[in-house]
């Protein structure tokens, strides 16, 4: 009933400790009877989110408008038609309560007040603020009621796109909750892993100068090295409902694809300098049950000239099987390096797309899928 944009990646990471638990060891999980490395969904999702926000400027997107009063008034009328006479005043009061200064445009005395600069509000934010304004209208002190409902947080325009994609949870003010449109799975190693320890010593420079021997500090750092299978899916229809603007949806999807590929959790980065990129990325757009291809690795991959080659082959075989039987996506893009890309390109209907074009092509395909419904 909706179009899903799904991203699969195989990424080798050298000795590293990307994501550790409270004992300092890299996180692991058992799958297929065997212990594997894991990077928790929340760790990589945060890395993707920070990369996304660093690059995205919401004011790049259309329907920035100074005429936000009209926007909110129309939404109030949709939600509560009986407030028709008060809708204008309510809208202006709502913006006043959230701290947005409205001024009447010069030369037009009969026009509504507008904001002095352009701003982007997602459809979900406008809906939420309208609901808050309608409830506050019934209260004795509307301004105070709006403040209590944290109306300011509702329209935080720095995060309009980011919230629609990644969601928000605020335990004590459930109105602020936004259901994420994306779903990021735990990254799982494709092969068995042995946790390892690095015993280190640190030298005290001043003691050394004073000709004293012995380490200043000794300790261990846990690490492991693994080839990960990563998966993420975006519910394109929900993103459209949250944002309300096809340009914003296209931008969000393209930047999500780019951030998924280019981001990495920063755990122990200075110690291990483990920044890598996926060796191959498979992007699909289609309807039907979103398909995690981790089943390709339920039987742990055995080394055969490294882990990447057999992993790519296992993924290609499994994907061909799945896409040929119970879940055929509309579009399949493959992007990667040399041999792994070649192997994945063997999946039926797969198209090799260079990385510079991949985010835009994926976003365009998702929107086409959405329109086709």
């Amino acid at each position: 009933m909706t179009t899903y944009l799904e991203l699969h990646a195989l990424q080798s990471v050298p000795p590293s400790n990307l994501n550790r638990d409270d004992t300092g060891s890299p996180k692991t999980a058992t799958y297929g009877g065997v212990l594997r490395a894991r990077v928790s969904s929340q760790a990589w999702k945060r890395a993707i989110r920070e990369d996304f926000n660093a690059r995205l400027a919401p004011d790049q997107v259309g329907t920035r408008t100074k005429q936000i009063v009209e926007l909110l008034r129309d939404e109030i009328l949709t939600q509560a038609p009986d407030l028709a006479e008060h809708a204008d005043a309510l809208a202006i009061a709502a913006f006043g309560a959230v701290g947005l200064k409205l001024t009447k445009p010069r030369g037009k005395s009969d026009a509504n007040a507008e904001l002095g600069y352009l701003i982007f509000f997602s459809a979900q934010q406008v809906r939420a603020l309208a609901a808050a304004a309608i409830e506050a209208a019934a209260a004795s002190d509307p301004k105070k009621a709006l403040q209590e409902r944290k109306a300011k947080e509702l329209v935080n325009s720095d995060h309009s796109i980011d919230l629609a994609l990644f969601g928000r949870m605020v335990a004590d003010v459930p109105d602020l909750n936004v259901d994420a449109a994306c779903q990021v799975a735990h990254a799982l190693g494709v092969h068995a892993v042995t946790p390892e320890d690095d015993y280190f010593t640190a030298v005290d420079d001043l003691k050394e100068q004073a000709q004293e021997t012995g380490a200043g500090m000794i300790g261990t750092v846990q690490f492991n090295a693994s080839t990960f299978y990563r998966y993420a899916a975006v519910n394109v229809e929900q993103l459209q409902v949250n944002l309300g603007n096809p340009d914003a949806v296209r931008l969000a999807l393209a930047e999500f694809v780019r951030s998924f590929v280019e981001s990495m959790p920063s755990g122990k980065q200075n110690t291990f300098a483990n920044g890598t990129r996926p060796e191959v990325v498979l992007v699909t757009v289609g309807t039907g049950q979103p398909t995690n291809l981790v089943g390709a690795f339920e039987d742990p991959v055995r080394p055969d000239g490294g882990y990447l080659k057999p992993a790519a082959e296992a993924l290609a075989t499994y994907a061909t099987d799945v896409f040929g039987t119970w879940r055929t996506p509309d579009v399949v893009f493959v992007c990667g390096l040399g041999k792994p890309q070649q192997v994945l390109a063997g999946v039926p209907d797969a198209e090799i797309v260079p990385f510079e074009e991949l985010p835009e092509r994926a976003a365009a395909a998702s929107l086409t899928g959405l329109e086709a419904r």
Binding site: M1, G33, H186, Q289, V294
Partner: protein
């Protein structure tokens, strides 16, 4: 009445029923609220939409592969202020395969199967990060009842697990079911996992009684092997001394 047979498998799954505060536990097998949530999401119901019609479905779950309990240490930071939010420990079952049998009127069950094949919201096994692996809808059965299916459906464990049991012709698996699925068995336990409302402002769960039992099913990976040779009597047999003394 028809039965919808679902395969709930993935690297991680988590089915909460009684967790408090920052320690989020998991039941060993899928809960009714988890499965109803999955079905409602597939149909496109939002959290605030009613779900009374789904509560009436009768549920049985068979734990084909138990898996391993996993503890995940979870930190969070406020996005704007950077302040550290409360640390939590979240438990998952990793490497588990469960089969759920959902019994209800035929049109409802068929509708649910169609919804699962083309879901409106992304599906997950208890938590959003637990993406299911493989096809979720195994079958829609119109002739056989839940109890017969529980006893006869093929063992869905993974290859490695099957390999560990290849000497056993029959496997014992745990089953947790609503009252009425197994005639003659009494409920052992109460679980507070019947969802009345998923509304984030006021989530309400009611209690149900569950029957817990073990069921023996055929092992499809059983390999008939020769009986091991009889072990010869050891050279030192202390009982000879006793027998001679008599």
């Amino acid at each position: 009445m028809s039965v919808l047979v679902l395969r709930l498998a993935g690297p991680l799954q988590s089915w909460g029923s009684s967790s408090r505060f920052v320690r989020r536990l998991t039941e060993p097998m899928p809960t009714k609220s988890g499965i109803i949530g999955l079905l409602a999401a597939a149909q496109g119901r939002r959290r605030v939409d009613p779900i009374e019609d789904l509560i009436g479905l009768r549920l049985a779950v068979r734990g084909d592969q138990q898996g391993v309990l996993l503890r995940d240490f979870h930190t969070a930071h406020h996005q704007v202020t950077g302040a550290s939010m409360p640390l939590s420990e979240r438990f998952y079952r990793s490497d588990a395969v469960n089969v759920a049998f959902v019994e209800g009127p035929s049109e409802v069950v068929e509708g649910l199967a169609d919804a699962l094949r083309d879901p409106a919201y992304p599906l997950y096994l208890g938590r959003r990060s637990c993406v299911p692996e493989g096809r979720i809808v195994l079958a829609v059965e119109h002739e056989r009842g839940t109890e017969e299916l529980v006893r006869t459906l093929e063992w869905q464990a993974g290859r490695v697990q099957k390999g560990r049991h290849k000497d056993e012709p029959r496997i014992r698996v745990a089953v947790q079911a609503d009252v009425g699925v197994f005639d003659g068995l009494q409920p052992a336990r109460q679980l507070q996992d019947v969802p009345v409302s998923f509304n984030p402002e006021k989530r309400v769960y009611a209690t149900r009684e569950v029957i817990e039992t073990l069921v023996e099913i055929r092992n499809p990976a059983f390999v008939e092997s020769e009986a091991p040779p009889e072990r010869p009597t050891p050279a030192h047999d202390p009982f000879t001394a006793i027998r001679e003394a008599r």
